[in-house]
């Protein structure tokens, strides 16, 4: 049984891993240079509690289940999931009514621990909130994570369990015979396939059409963000702060990141479906973030910004996930339209998709006995070990004693290990180790990381890029 998974975002990576629990060939195709560099890279990074989704939606079916599964995922894949809780805050009685409605919805969706908090209790938990708040819906199970790390970890674990991972390969055609999946053709290879999982994120409609299926149109909804310096802004809020949602979505939030920074955003702008690659920030967007975030937390000092970025999420006309076997092409299975709460739902979706595959195609998939669910993260030393333990490690491994990223105290060993695990770009090293993710944003270490990347891989410095093909950093010599 040959199963081709297209995409290594949160959905493709977790499904690939899930499939490696069974006796089948798993072939993963990703057009980018690393896992999770599309939609999964730039979003609010929230594992939602699950009160947001109307009980009759597909979203509601997976969200609170997915939230629950993150505890196990975090343990097995050694990723950080911090259950810091969330507050939806209300400023007036109309908004309080919305909180009550969300509360009831949450109970229906089996969200544990929900409470409506009155002003005093809320402000004792979040003293920097606008004192005009009157109440909040508190969800203790809401969490934050690093979505790209989940993707990388799941792909590493899938690889360990036998999946074939092919980066920098773009699907250019899908061959069918008698409306049945036969082959997936990329710009580099051809792969025989019995089943194709379409987890191509923003491009899932393109993949569907390629296979001759009718596609649900997927259009990009862009969200812009501002990230504040963890060293100076980290204590602004302790949990995820949402405004009361409106028809336009969940609104602009203020939340801590796993790395202790503070994230503000997102905006929410629907783009033409052709603008799927757009990741540009705008003055209007940034101004709106500042204005809205300051309404929630007035003491935000925007001068503490370390970076701005934008991400796109795949939106569908009915604002829900698109999961299921194609009715037209046998063997093509769509897992698309992963708008919010796609990240949260992903672990539950991955399990359910494999069940659905077995049922839809009457597969006789046997569980492997030797599946190893454990993946270990790249060890980080400074701040995580006692000085004596760290000393012992350096004695055996001198590279662990050389700090390359001064801001985040990332050692040369961590960078070399990221490269061993497949990092080939500055961004890949950054997302895997947090090197150059700190307050100087690579000012002191980009040149060193370039040098280490080149030394370890043999790729000339001139050919190393930040992320996409043309994003080179240096080109040629000043003097021969």
């Amino acid at each position: 049984m040959k199963i081709v998974v297209i995409g290594t975002g949160i959905i493709g990576s977790l499904i690939s891993r899930e499939l490696t629990k069974y006796d089948c060939d798993v072939i993963v195709i990703e057009k980018e240079k690393d896992a999770g560099l599309g939609v999964s890279k730039a979003n609010s990074a929230i594992v939602h509690a699950g009160y947001d989704d109307e009980p009759d939606t597909i979203r509601a079916k997976y969200c609170s289940k997915g939230n629950f599964l993150y505890t196990k995922i975090a343990e097995e894949l050694d990723i950080e999931v911090k259950r810091i809780g969330s507050h939806v805050v209300a400023f007036n009685n109309e908004e309080r009514n919305t909180l009550n409605r969300l509360y009831k919805q949450g109970i229906e969706n089996n969200v544990p621990g929900l409470r409506i908090l009155e002003k005093d209790e809320l402000l004792s938990m979040e003293p920097n909130l606008n004192p005009d708040v009157i109440a909040s819906l508190y969800a203790p199970t809401a969490a934050i994570t690093e979505p790209w790390q989940v993707c990388i970890a799941a792909i590493e674990n899938a690889y360990l369990n036998g999946a074939k991972i092919n980066f920098q390969e773009e699907v250019i055609a899908i061959k069918t015979k008698d409306s049945k999946i036969k082959k997936v053709i990329t710009n580099k290879h051809e792969y025989e396939a019995d089943i194709v999982i379409n987890a191509a994120g923003l491009y899932a409609d393109k993949i569907a059409t390629m296979a001759g299926d009718r596609a649900i149109p997927i259009f990009p909804r862009i969200g812009e963000y501002i990230l504040l310096n963890k060293f100076t802004a980290h204590d602004l809020v302790n949990s995820i702060i949402f405004p009361t949602p409106s028809k336009m979505g969940k609104g602009i939030l203020v939340l801590p990141t796993v790395d202790k920074g503070i994230l503000l955003g997102p905006t929410s702008t629907d783009l033409h479906y052709k603008l799927k690659d757009l990741r540009a920030t705008s003055k209007e967007g940034l101004d709106k973030i500042v204005q809205n975030a300051k309404h929630l937390v007035p003491s935000i000092d925007i001068r503490e910004t370390v970076k701005i970025f934008a991400g796109s999420r795949p939106e569908t006309p009915n604002k829900d996930f698109w999961i299921g076997p194609s009715r037209n092409i046998y063997g093509l299975f769509h897992v698309a339209g992963m708008r919010s709460p796609g990240l949260t739902s992903a672990p539950a979706i991955a399990i359910d998709v494999v069940d659905q595959l077995i049922k839809s195609y009457d597969l006789n998939l046997k569980k492997k006995t030797d599946f190893n669910p454990i993946r270990k993260r790249i060890p980080h030393y400074v701040g995580e070990l006692s000085l004596n333990e760290y000393d012992e490690i350096i004695k055996k491994d001198p590279l662990a004693g050389k700090i390359v990223c001064v801001c985040n105290k990332v050692t040369e060993r961590e960078i070399v290990e990221a490269i061993k695990r497949g990092a080939r770009t500055i961004d890949s090293v950054k997302f895997r180790t947090r090197a150059s993710f700190g307050e100087c944003q690579g000012g002191f270490c980009t040149n060193k990381i370039l040098e280490i990347l080149s030394r370890e891989t043999g790729i000339p410095v001139d050919s190393i890029v930040y992320n996409s093909d043309n994003s080179y950093i240096v080109k040629g010599k000043v003097r021969k």
């Binding site: 920030t281 967007g285 700090i403 001064v406 944003q441 000012g443 040149n447 093909d469 080179y472 040629g476």
Partner: protein
């Protein structure tokens, strides 16, 4: 764990740390100087242009020459250099500082510490300039490091944002290395760098300086391909219709330095606005045994000042080691017209070295140092601009003759 001890520990082997080491070692205490790179001299090593040393060495030198001269002066003195050692933590009670190195953790017990870790550059992300996420945007120091140290070309056609000295110097450097520099933009209505650099780096090469102009968007696919600039009105709002498009593959930023003080957070008091370590006239921080000097205190115009301040830190760190006597401190307050100032307090029996910048350009003003109604110093009438730092040394006797005072106010009127 490798355990060593010394009288004076210095963190940072740049222009200031070396100054502190020199002075302290001459006083006979033994010094350990810890540096995270594999060479002393700090940022001087990448500043291959000249213009350094006129005050300290009384001759004009390049950055590497200035560094080499300083390092030469440390020869035969009781200074032990530890390279590629990285600060981990400080135990304030036992005056012990921990470093990581390739040989393991090094624990250094000292009597006094001088922290002189310099500054970092403000990154592009902090400017909130919207647009595509592209490569080809470099802070000036990073560009300088690539070109001058690593012999690498960063682009073909560049625009520079910020007319601070390093921006001006990079405009010249890039031009000399065959990179076309289309303009230098400055959001303020006046230049940020020294006038001599405007002449020598821009005018001599015909590079336009666009005042009240900033970068308002960056565009490109992968690599930068277009920069949009806009003119600003007197309230720094964008003037609609003033947008200009520049076809460039490189944007170099000279938008300011921030004292590198994050590793000291929680150990000593830091000015949360400037991020500088707060020191008194002996370069002593809020902790009696910890001193600090150089760009991690305030961003100086001249490296000569940085070394001089290091010497002061070294001198008083030695005095602390030998006497351990607490002295009376008189707070220094920023009066009208002053943007930033160092130091924060005057310590009795010491000379007061004031470094300050005016808050805005002042055509005719006087520097006044006073306490209550008593004038300690009144300068001649002169012009002030924020980009040119004012330095004034006031002798201890001048302050002491006022008798008991509660505070000192510095103002430009």
């Amino acid at each position: 764990m490798n355990k060593i001890s010394c009288d004076l520990l210095i963190i940072g082997g740049g222009a200031s740390g070396l100054g502190a080491a020199l002075k302290a070692a001459k006083e006979g205490v033994n010094v350990i100087l810890v540096e995270r790179l594999n060479i002393a001299g700090g940022i001087l090593n990448q500043c291959i242009h000249n213009g350094f040393g006129l005050h300290y060495f009384k001759k004009e030198l390049t950055g590497p020459e200035y560094a080499a001269n300083l390092i030469n002066l440390t020869k035969d003195l009781p200074i032990k250099f530890l390279f590629e050692h990285f600060l981990l933590s400080i135990d304030k009670k036992s005056k012990t500082v921990y470093f990581a190195s390739e040989n393991g953790i090094v624990e250094i017990k000292c009597e006094a510490l001088v922290y002189s870790a310099g500054a970092r550059e403000r990154p592009f992300g902090s400017l909130l300039i919207p647009g595509d996420r592209v490569s080809g945007i470099y802070t000036a120091g990073v560009a300088q490091k690539f070109i001058n140290i690593e012999n690498r070309i960063i682009g073909k056609r560049a625009i520079i944002l910020g007319s601070g000295d390093i921006g001006l110097i990079m405009a010249r450097r890039l031009t000399l290395e065959g990179v076309e520099v289309v303009a230098v933009c400055e959001r303020m209505p006046y230049p940020g760098g020294l006038s001599r650099n405007i002449n020598q780096c821009l005018k001599d090469f015909g590079i336009p300086l666009l005042l009240s102009t900033t970068v308002t968007e960056v565009r490109g696919e992968g690599r930068l391909s277009e920069v949009i600039t806009s003119e600003l009105d007197e309230n720094y709002n964008i003037i609609e219709g003033s947008q200009r498009s520049w076809s460039v593959d490189t944007l170099v930023l000279s938008v300011g330095l921030v004292p590198s003080t994050t590793p000291m957070m929680g150990y000593v008091d830091i000015d949360l606005r400037t991020r500088g370590i707060i020191v008194d006239s002996t370069m002593n921080t809020s902790v009696p045994w910890i001193f600090s000097s150089g760009n991690c205190v305030i961003i100086y115009d001249l490296v000569d000042y940085v070394t001089k301040e290091g010497e002061i830190a070294g001198t008083y760190a030695v005095e602390y080691i030998k006497q351990k006597k607490e002295k009376k401190k008189i707070p220094i307050k920023k009066g009208i017209g002053v943007g930033i100032i160092n130091c924060n307090a005057w310590v009795e029996q010491t000379d007061l070295n004031l470094y300050l910048r005016s808050i805005k350009p002042i055509e005719k003003g006087r520097l006044i140092v006073k306490s209550g109604n008593s004038i300690i110093f009144e300068g001649k009438e002169q012009a002030f601009i924020p980009s040119e730092m004012v330095h004034k040394t006031i002798k201890a006797e001048q302050i002491e003759k006022l008798g008991n005072i509660d505070n000192i106010v510095v103002e430009i009127v």
